[in-house]
Amino acid sequence: MTPRLLQPLIRLHRNTRGNIAVLLLLTIFCLVGLIGLVWNTAELATRRESLQTAADSSAHAAATWMSRCTNLVAAQNMVICQDGSAEVIWHAIPPTDKSVRTHLERELADAQTMLSGGDPQFASMRNRMLDALRRVDDEYAMASGAWQSVSGLSNQKFADQLQGDNFRKAVRQAGELLDWVNATYVNGDPANSPRRPGPPGPGGEGLRQLVEKWSPPANSAPFLQAIIASLQQQLAVLAEFESRTAPGVAQDVPGRVAAHEAEVFATQQEMVAQITPTISQQFSDQADFYKIRLTAATTGRGAQPNGPAQIQAPVAPADDPSLTPQPHFDSLRGATVEIDPINVHTDAAAIIWPTPESRTITIAGRPIKFTVNCNIPGGWGHVYAAPIKRYFEQRVASDQQSLATYMQRIDDLRRQLAELLRQLRGLPTNDTITPLPATLSDSVIDDTGNFPSVAAPPRLTAPDDASDQLRAQVALYNQHARAYTGTVRGLAGLLRSWARYYDRFTVPFAVATWHGHVDHFRHVVLKQLGTSKQFMVLATYRLRHIPDWAQAGMRTSAETAIRDRIVSQNIGPVGQSILSTLIGADPSGAGGGFLDPTGRNTVLAARYSPQASQAAFAAINAVAAEVAPQIAAEWVSRPWPYEITPPDTRVPPSQGIGKNDRQTYFTLIAAARPTAANAPRFILPKLTQTKAPELLAYAQAEAFNWMEFNAAYGGSERFDEVASDPNAFFIGCPLPWRLSTIGGWNWNSRLAVSDALSTSIASNPELETFFTEGGVTNNDPQSIDTLTLH
C-alpha cells in the first residue's frame, strides 16, 4: 500500500506534462544571463567613453580659453605698439615738415635770386676753364723747357758717380712723367707705358677734351628755371604731406594715445580676470550637460582648499610684483645696480665702460694722442620695453613707410632734376674724373726687378757738386713742375665743380631727414612705453641668468660684437686724427711742400691713409681687445629678460617652452566622475556577481604656440649668441615674440600626454578626491606615469 501522503508526488512523477517548460525556463535564465553580460559590458564601455569625452572636451575647451585670451592679449599688445608707433609718427611729422620746408624754401629763394640777379660764378665758369687750360699749356711749356735745360746739363760728370746716375735717372723719370701728364692726362693720348693709367675722363677723355665737351653755356637761366620748377614741385609734394598729416597733427595724439593705451591695458586685465570664472562656468555647464562631476587642476598653482583649481591665462601685467627690479653687482663700476626686467640695463643700470680710454701711439717719431669711445649710446645691451620692443620697432618701420613716400617723391624729383641738369649741360651719367695720381710706375725696372713708383712728377735734387747753373735750372724745373701739376689739378677740380655745380639743389635729403626724426622719437616713445609698463607679458617672462651651457658661447659672441662695434665706431675719428697728424708731420706739408696747396692734402691723404688706417685699427683693436672681454664678462654675468625659461641643456631637443613652464603655466588637467544619474546601470548584478566599477576619466590639455618651431618667429633664436633687432641693436637673450608679434596670435589648444597628472593630484585636493574615489588611493608618481597612457 502506498502511503496517502505520497500520492501527490507519485502523481507528479507520473505526470510528463511541462518537461519542456522546465528546460525552456533554464534556457531563458541562461539567455538572460548572457544578455546581462553583454549589457553590462556595453554599459561600462559606453559610460567610460562618455566620461572620457567629457574630460577631453572640458580640458580642451579650458585650454582653448587660455589660448584665446593669450591671443587677444597679444593682439592688444600689438594695438599698444601701434598706438606708440602712431605717436612716433605724430612727433616726427612737424620737425620733418619744418626742416624740409626750410631747406626747399631757402633753395628756391637762392635759385630765384640767381635767376633775377644773374649767376656770376656760372657766367665765368667757361672762361675760367679756358683760362685754366691755357695756364696748363703755359706751365707745361715752361716746365718742359726747364726740364730740357736740366736734362742738357745732367750729362756732365759728377764727383759722386752714384749720385750722378741717380740724378740722371730722376731727370729721365721727370721727363717721362711730365710727358705722361701732358700727353695722356691733359690731351687724352694713350698712356706711354702699360703700367700707367689712361686719360682721366669717364669716356677716356683728357682734360682738354672734357673742357670742350663739358663747356658751360653762357646763360644759366634754363638751368635755374628747371631748378625753380622742380623746387616748386617738391614744395607741392610737401604741401600734400602737410595736407595729409594736418588732421592728425592738429590732434592731441599723445594724450589720446596715452588714454587709449590705458584703456587697452585695462581691457587686457579685465579679460584676463574673466578667464577664471569663464572656465569655471564652462566646467559647471559641461558637468550639467554630461550629468557628471568635473574638476579642474593645475600643477602647483591655482589650488583651492576645496574645489577645482582656478585656471588662468598664461599672462601677467608688466607691472606685476613678480617683475620687480633685481639687484646685481656691476663688476665694471664696482657697485650694485637695480636691473628692471622690463627696461633692461638702462639708465643707472646701463652696462657702461666707466673710463675714457685715452691712448698715445708714436708714428713717424711723433706721439699721437687719441681717445677710443668704448660705449654706445644708452649702454651695451640696453633695451627699453623689452617684451614689446620687437613688434614696436617693426611697426614703426612699417608705419613710417607710408609717409616716407612723400619724402621719397621729393628726393626722386631732386634726382630727376639732377639728371635733367646733367643732360642740359651735356654731362654723362658717370662724370667721374680720375684725380692726377700722386705716384706713377716707372717704365724701367730697378735693381730689385720691380717697376718703382715715382712721384708725378718727381722733385729733382741737384748733386752736391752740381754747378750753379744746374742748380738754378733744377730749382726752375721744380718750380714749374709744381706749378704745372697745380694747374692740371686746378683744371680737373674746375671740371668737377662744374659737374657738381647744381648738387646743392639736387642732392636727396628728405628721406634721411624723415628717418632721422622717426629714429629720434622711436627711442623717446619706446622709453615712455617701458616706463609706463601698461602692457602684458607672458607669465613665464622673467629676468634670468644665461644658462651655464650657453655662457661660453654668449661670452664669445658678445665679446666679438662689442669688439666689432668699438672698432667700427672709432676707426673713422681715430683714423682721421692719426692721418691729420701724419700729414702735419710730413716734411712736404705746411710750408715745405713740393706740390701745390690744392693737391698737397689729397696727395698726402692718399699717401698716409693706408698707414693711418692700419695704425688706427691696430690701436683701437688693442683697446677693444682689452675692454671687450671685461664688458662681455659683465654682460654674461647679468640677468637678461627671457620670455621662457632657457633650457638646461644645449638645444635641441629642448626647443621651445620647457617642461616646467609648460606644466605650470600652460597646462590643466580635467577629471570626470559619474554621478548617480550617470553611473553604469548593470542588470542582474547579483547573478553575474558583478560590482559596478568606479569610473574615472582625466585629460591633460595645453595652450601652445606652434610658431615655437618657426624660424621666422623665434624658433631659430639662440641662447648662446647675441640677438639683433631690426636696428642692428643686440642683446644677450632671444628677443621676446610670443606676446608681442604676429607670432603671438597663434596660440592654440591641444590634448596631450598626461605628464602633469601626478603633480596635479598632489597639489589639487579635489582632484585627489576624484582619484581616490576612482580607486587610485596612492599617488605614486612612477606608477602614475606607467599607467598614464593618455
Binding site: 553583454v38 559590458t41 556595453a42 635641441p652 591633460q700 588611493t777 597612457l789 593618455h790
Partner: protein
C-alpha cells in the same frame, strides 16, 4: 507500490499471436535440458511484449533525441554572446588606443597606443601559459602601487593580451607640418585573437592555433577607430634652425 507494473494487464492478455502463446501453454512439463532456456526466453519475450505494449518513457525518447541539438544551439548562443561581448570590449580597446594615439604619436611614443589596447583587453583574456612579460609585471605593480585592485592573474591575462593583440594605425608615420595643418586623420585598428571556449560551438568558427601558449580555436576580431592627432610638443624635423 514501486513493484507495481505500469501496465497491470497479464502478459498472456497481450496480443502476442496464438503460436507463441500456445506453445508456452502446451509445454508445461519440459525436459530438464531444455526447460530452463525455454522459460527464460519466455520471460524475455513477455518483458519485450510488455515493453511494446507500454507507453512509459514515450516522452523521454524525443527529448533525448532533441537534447544534443538543443544543447548545441545553446552552446552556439553562448559562444555568440561571448563573441559579442568580446567585440564590445575590443571596440572599447580601439577607442582607448585611438585616444592614446591622439596624444602619444606626435610625441613619438607609439608604445602607448598598444599599451592602451592591452589594458582594455586584459580582462577579456585567458591566462597565458607563457611567463608574464616585463610590461605586464610593470603594469600590475603600478596598479598595485596606486591602490587599484587587480587580481593575481592580471599579469598572465595582460601577457595573453599582448600576444593576442595587434595594433596598427594608418598612416604609419603621421608627422604633420603644423604650419599648414592642425593635425592628421588617423585610423587605429585593434585586432584581437579571441580564445573560443564553448565546446560544440567553437568547432564551427575560428581556426586552430596556439596563442600565448594556449592551444585551441581562436577567432580574429578587429575594430577600427578614427581620430585626429594633436600637435606635437617636439620640433619639426630639421630643428627649425637650431644647431644639429
Amino acid at each position: 507500490m514501486f513493484n507495481r507494473p505500469a501496465h497491470p494487464r497479464p502478459l498472456n492478455s497481450l496480443p502476442l499471436g496464438g503460436g507463441l502463446g500456445r506453445g508456452l501453454e502446451t509445454s508445461k512439463q519440459p525436459s530438464a535440458a531444455c526447460t530452463r532456456p525455454t522459460r527464460s526466453l519466455a520471460v524475455a519475450l513477455r518483458l519485450f511484449a510488455r515493453t511494446l505494449h507500454s507507453d512509459r518513457g514515450s516522452a523521454a525518447v524525443p527529448f533525448i533525441l532533441a537534447l544534443p541539438i538543443f544543447l548545441w544551439i545553446v552552446a552556439i548562443l553562448v559562444q555568440y554572446t561571448i563573441i559579442v561581448n568580446a567585440k564590445l570590449l575590443i571596440d572599447h580597446a580601439a577607442q582607448s588606443a585611438a585616444r592614446a594615439a591622439v596624444t602619444s604619436l606626435p610625441e613619438g611614443h607609439p608604445e602607448n597606443v598598444a599599451a592602451a589596447a592591452y589594458l582594455g583587453l586584459a580582462t577579456l583574456s585567458p591566462l597565458s601559459t607563457l611567463p608574464p612579460s616585463v610590461q605586464a609585471d610593470n603594469v600590475y605593480r603600478a596598479l598595485q602601487n596606486t591602490g587599484i585592485p587587480a587580481a593575481d592573474t592580471f599579469p598572465a591575462r595582460y601577457t595573453y593580451a599582448m600576444e593576442a593583440t595587434k595594433v596598427d594605425w594608418n598612416p604609419q608615420n603621421p608627422q604633420v607640418d603644423f604650419t599648414t595643418s592642425r593635425g592628421r586623420q588617423l585610423d587605429v585598428t585593434v585586432t584581437y585573437r579571441l580564445c573560443l571556449t564553448v565546446p560544440g560551438a567553437m568547432g564551427l568558427i575560428g581556426s586552430a592555433d596556439t596563442v600565448a601558449g594556449i592551444s585551441g580555436r581562436f577567432l580574429t576580431i578587429a575594430s577600427t577607430s578614427r581620430v585626429e592627432t594633436s600637435h606635437s610638443r617636439q620640433s619639426a624635423a630639421g630643428g627649425g634652425g637650431w644647431p644639429q
